[in-house]
């Protein structure tokens, strides 16, 4: 059986659980409330998932880099970009021209600091990125004085408006981004090096790869994607508040894992994360449709996640 595992087969096998879950949930949703699968509703859910997908792209890069790579600072970076980004534009579309690149670069730099601490000092990624999250949150508070941002460029606000049929502009952008990043990950020299580093950092080093540089860049990409997602979020929601994206940290980890990228690194891709994000928001919206209170919804989400994990994240047995 083992002999038959082809790399491509494996990718399909990783996607399969999330695709099955999506189909099942759409069916269940439609039974519970007819009209659940209407194009408008589904595209709305996809649009919500699109914001998360952007974060998931970065999170996937970090998780593929191995060595229990995880980025717990993405939520804070997102919130920071969502709050500070638009306010830098003074509400003018033209302002995006500099504020977006500036925040992407700043995000990248924050990620590079994460990566340097992790690779150079051999610190656990979890703790470094947690602390970095607190630092970034602190910066956000410092610069905004805790006030929500008011002036948001119209261009950002248009992201959430139906564009191509029922499809939102944001979704189209994210789909393009998703495929570009998947292509970058699977085909570019950097992407292939990243897979090797994640698979086995030790062998990668012995093979002469610049492991530190490669891994540090993956953290940079993650933080940069988070900054981008911050802009998308503020556009979709229409306003920005302090800590508005906190939950995206763990949501992104969960989506990527549901999408078949393992925490142990070395395999996976960014498309799985998009599927995972869709699963999570589909679940949320079914539970919301049911009229469950927030608490029950969150609880059930946890329970469902636990069941999904049982299917795809078990560690090997001690007895061989």
């Amino acid at each position: 059986m083992l002999r038959k595992i082809n790399k491509n087969n494996e990718i399909i096998r990783n996607f399969l659980p999330s695709i099955i879950i999506i189909v099942l949930m759409l069916l269940v949703g439609n039974i519970l409330t007819p009209g659940f699968t209407s194009a408008n509703n589904v595209f709305n859910i996809i649009c919500k998932a699109s914001v998360l997908t952007i974060v998931c792209i970065g999170q996937a890069f970090v998780m593929i880099s191995g060595n229990s790579g995880i980025d717990m600072s993405v939520g804070s970076i997102m919130s920071c970009a969502a709050l500070l980004g638009p306010s830098m534009t003074q509400g003018q579309n033209i302002g995006l021209l500099w504020s977006l690149p500036i925040f992407l670069i700043l995000g990248f730099l924050v990620g590079v600091i994460n990566g340097l601490c992790i690779q150079k000092f051999r610190l656990p990624a979890l703790v470094v990125t947690l602390c970095m999250g607190i630092v970034v949150d602190g910066l956000t508070i410092g610069f905004t004085h805790g006030k929500p941002s008011l002036k948001i460029p119209d261009l950002l606000l248009e992201l959430g408006i139906p564009y191509l049929g029922r499809m939102r502009l944001l979704t189209i952008i994210v789909i393009v981004l998703l495929f570009l990043m998947e292509l970058f990950l699977q085909k570019s020299k950097y992407g292939r090096q990243l897979f090797l580093c994640g698979s086995n950092q030790n062998v990668a080093r012995l093979s002469g790869l610049r492991v530190n540089v490669i891994v540090v860049i993956s953290y940079g990409i993650s933080a940069m994607m988070a900054a981008l997602a911050g802009f998308a979020l503020v556009g979709y929601v229409g306003s920005a508040q302090l800590f508005m994206a906190d939950e995206y940290t763990m949501l992104s980890v969960a989506s990527v894992v549901i999408g078949g990228t393992s925490l142990s690194g070395g395999k996976g891709g960014v498309i799985g994360g998009a599927l995972g994000a869709f699963v999570l928001f589909l679940l949320t919206s079914i539970l919301t449709v049911l009229g469950l209170p927030d608490g029950a919804r969150i609880g059930i989400e946890g329970l469902v996640l636990l069941l999904i994990l049982m299917a795809n994240s078990r560690e090997s047995k001690l007895r061989i």
Binding site: P124, V135, G138, L139, G295, I298, G302, L309, K317, L318
Partner: protein, 328 residues
């Protein structure tokens, strides 16, 4: 004598103790006489829960696990406690039920990580969402109070010091019991190397299971103390606690890879985090940048303490041989 000293330096909690003492001194220099009665009672009340849950978390970390459901469990206990006390139930019964709920949470964590072998961080993320969801379900918005008698006792016993110190003492004694028991040895063994522990006849899955249950028990006691101090119910009251507890453990010399550390170190780390806030308040006058400063301080403390611990493990071996604690 010399070997005693080396043993002391090699104690994983040593670096965090140094940090703790230096922060005490720095604070004294920055704001002389800050260490008065009001400060101490307030400090114990507000930082006690973090200290206690850090000790609990260190049990899981030492046995090679990870638990990010600390805040979930503590919020649930908080809400259960308040809801029951609103119904006018007897205090002792409330406490018993709280502990049972806590044990139940621990059992769920332990079952999924230990016996079902799901990656700890993902399991506890899912259960965290489960527990805090239930908490929010029970109490969608903050409200309530604790029984008057209990509140009075907490704030006045032994000049206001008594209650928080009693709770802390229970936790610390609990930790020492674990540390000195056979189970303690097994926790360290499993954390260092699961395969070898298994080969040595240890029931690895059971030890992992127990570690989560014990930790949950510790969080529960911590949550009871916290709830009495705040005397109110709020399903999001403990939200930042998990992150801080993990950071405290790392500062306290607990290795996230397992097998190394001491709950006392975690307590030192947590106390240092609390003291650092006092330091920041004294240095950074711009209120809006105090969070940023304490974040930076935390990051520096994590890096510094980890590197120092590693240096000590490398340099101060009993035979004077350079060994690498990281390599297994």
């Amino acid at each position: 004598m010399k070997s005693k000293l080396i043993n002391f330096i090699r104690w994983p909690a040593f670096v965090s103790l140094v940090l703790l003492v230096s922060l005490l001194i720095i604070n004294q220099i920055l704001s002389p006489g800050y260490l008065n009665k009001a400060y101490i009672t307030n400090f114990l009340g507000s930082n006690g829960p973090l200290i206690m849950s850090s000790i609990g978390l260190s049990i899981v970390l030492i046995s090679g696990g990870m638990d990010i459901s600390v805040d979930g469990i503590m919020s649930l206990i908080n809400v259960v406690y308040i809801t029951l006390s609103e119904s006018g139930m007897q205090t002792i019964l409330i406490l018993v039920i709280c502990i049972l709920v806590g044990l139940f949470c621990g059992i769920i964590n332990g079952l999924f990580v230990g016996y079902l072998r799901i990656t700890p961080i993902l399991t506890t993320f899912a259960t965290s969402s489960l527990f805090s969801g239930i908490a929010l379900w029970i109490m969608p918005s903050p409200r309530g109070s604790v029984p008057k008698g209990l509140l009075n006792w907490y704030y006045s016993w032994l000049g206001g010091f008594g209650a928080p110190i009693l709770f802390l003492l229970i936790i610390v004694i609990g930790w020492f019991i674990i540390r000195k028991s056979k189970l303690g040895i097994m926790l360290y063994a499993v954390g260092a190397n699961k395969e070898n522990s298994y080969l040595s006849g240890i029931n690895v899955y059971r030890v992992q299971f127990i570690s989560y249950v014990l930790a949950a028990l510790f969080y529960t006691i911590s949550a009871i103390s916290m709830t009495t101090y705040f005397s109110g119910g709020d399903a999001t009251v403990a939200s930042a606690l998990t992150m801080k507890a993990i950071t405290a453990c790392v500062i306290g010399g607990v290795l996230l890879s397992g097998g190394v550390g001491d709950g006392i170190g975690a307590a030192f780390g947590a106390t240092s985090l609390g003291l650092a806030i006092t330091t920041v308040l004294a240095i950074v006058k711009n209120a809006f940048f105090q969070d940023f400063a304490s974040g930076v301080l935390m990051l520096i403390a994590v890096i510094g303490c980890t590197l120092l611990n590693r240096y000590i493990a490398n340099k101060f071996s009993k035979k004077g041989v350079v060994i690498n604690a990281e390599k297994d």
